[in-house]
Symmetry: C2
Subunit: 228 residues, 2 copies
C-alpha cells in the first residue's frame, strides 16, 4: 500500500475544486496503490451541534460522526471516477487490476472493532492513521484546505508560518488543535507512519508527495529528531 489518503470534508465547500481534485486522484490510483478515507464533512459539524445541544454520550456522538464519514464516502464515490466503497480490511488490501480507487466506508470496521477512544480528539485524521497502520501503508496523506500545519491558525493570523516538517513527538507536545486532530501523533508514533498534510486545492502536490518530491506541505515524521 503506497498511501492512505484522507479527503477532508472542508474540500466540499468548493465543489468545482473538489471535482478537479477527485479526477486527479483517480489518475493517481492508476499508478499507485491507494485507499481513500473520507472526512466527516458538514455531517460532523451537525454531530458537534447536536452534541452541544443534547450533551450526548461520547459513544453515541462518535458513532454519529463515523456515519458522517460513510455519508461523505458515498459522495466521494459519486465523483471520483472508477471508485468503489469498501467496508473490510480484506477488501481494502485487494488492489484491482484496473486501478480502481478504493474508498473506505468506515462504520462497519469501527463499530465492530472500536479501536480508538471515543472523544472529539479522535476524528477522521486518527481513523486514517489507524487504517494506514493496519494496512502497513507507506504514507498517510491528509488532504485539507490549507497548506499544512502552521505556527498559528492561518485563517486568523496573516503572519502564521507553514511548518514544513515536525516530529510526531513535538506535535504531541503542542497540545493545541492544529489542522489535524490531537490524537493523530500518538498513532503515527505507534505505527511508525510518515504523514503529510497537504492542500487539496493543488492536486499535483499529492502527486509530488507520492513520488517523493518536495512541495509546500507539512511532513510529520514518526520519531524524535534533534532539530525538528
Amino acid at each position: 500500500m503506497d498511501a492512505v489518503i484522507k479527503v477532508g470534508g472542508s474540500l466540499a465547500e468548493n465543489p468545482v475544486e473538489l471535482r478537479i481534485f477527485c479526477n486527479k486522484l483517480s489518475e493517481y490510483a492508476q499508478r499507485y496503490d491507494l485507499v481513500v478515507v473520507p472526512g466527516g464533512g458538514r455531517f460532523a459539524d451537525v454531530v458537534r451541534d447536536y452534541d452541544r445541544d443534547f450533551r450526548l454520550s461520547s459513544t453515541k456522538s462518535h458513532k454519529m460522526a463515523i456515519l458522517g464519514m460513510d455519508q461523505f464516502g458515498l459522495l466521494l464515490t459519486d465523483i471520483i471516477p472508477r471508485s468503489r466503497l469498501i467496508r473490510t480490511f480484506k477488501n481494502l488490501n485487494k488492489r484491482s487490476g484496473g486501478g480502481e480507487m478504493r474508498i473506505l466506508s468506515p462504520s462497519a470496521i469501527m463499530f465492530r472493532e472500536n479501536p480508538l477512544e471515543t472523544s472529539w480528539e479522535v476524528t477522521s485524521d486518527s481513523i486514517t492513521a489507524y487504517v494506514a497502520g493496519q494496512l502497513c501503508a507507506e504514507k498517510v496523506i491528509l488532504v485539507t484546505d490549507v497548506d499544512g500545519i502552521f505556527s498559528k491558525d492561518p485563517k486568523l493570523h496573516s503572519d502564521a508560518k507553514l511548518i514544513p516538517k515536525i516530529s510526531a513527538q513535538k506535535l504531541l507536545s503542542l497540545s493545541r488543535r492544529t489542522s489535524v486532530d490531537l490524537f493523530l501523533p500518538k498513532l503515527l508514533l505507534k505505527y511508525s507512519l510518515s504523514c503529510y498534510v497537504v492542500n487539496g486545492k493543488y492536486p499535483e502536490r499529492i502527486g509530488s508527495v507520492l513520488s517523493g518530491g518536495e512541495v509546500p506541505c507539512t511532513q510529520i515524521i514518526p520519531r524524535s529528531h534533534p532539530t525538528i
Copy 2:
C-alpha cells in the same frame, strides 16, 4: 404492534421540548407496543445541500439520507429512557417484557431490501409507513413540529386551516409538499394504514391518538370517502 411512530428531526430544534417528548414516549412504551423510526434531522438538510452542490446520483443521496436517520436514531436512543436500537424486522417484532422502546436504525434493512424509489419524494415519512406495513402496525404516527396538515403552509400563511381528516387518495391528488412527503399516501393505500400527523410539542396528544381519543391533528385514512 400498536403503532410505528416517526419522530421528526424538526423536534430537535428545541432540545428541552424533545427531551420532554422522549420521556413521555418512554412512558407510552410501557403500555403500548411501539416502534420509533427516526427522522433525518439536520443530516437530511446537509444531504440536500450536497445534492444541490454536486448533483449526486439519487441512489447515493438516498443512502446518505438514510444514514442520517441512523444518526438521528443514535441521538434518540441517548435521550429516550429505556430504549435501544434495532436493525432487523425480526427484532422489531419482539416486544421486551420491560416495555423497552425499540428504535429502528434503518440503513441495514433499507440498503439490503431497497423497497422504495430513491427520490426526495420518499423521506422518513414513507419509510415509516413501509416499516408499519411490514410489521402490520395498527397506526402510523408522524410526529412533527406543526399540528398536522394544513390547507396552506402554516409557517407562511396565518389563515392556514388544519385539516382534521383527509383520505390518502385526496392527499395524493393535492400533488404538493405538505408536512408529509409525496409518496406516503401511496404506501398508506397499499398497506391500508391509518396515519396521524401530530404535533410533538404536546406529547399528550400522542397518548390520545394511541387510546383512540380526539385531539388536534390530521388523520389520513387509507380509503376513498365521499366527504373527505
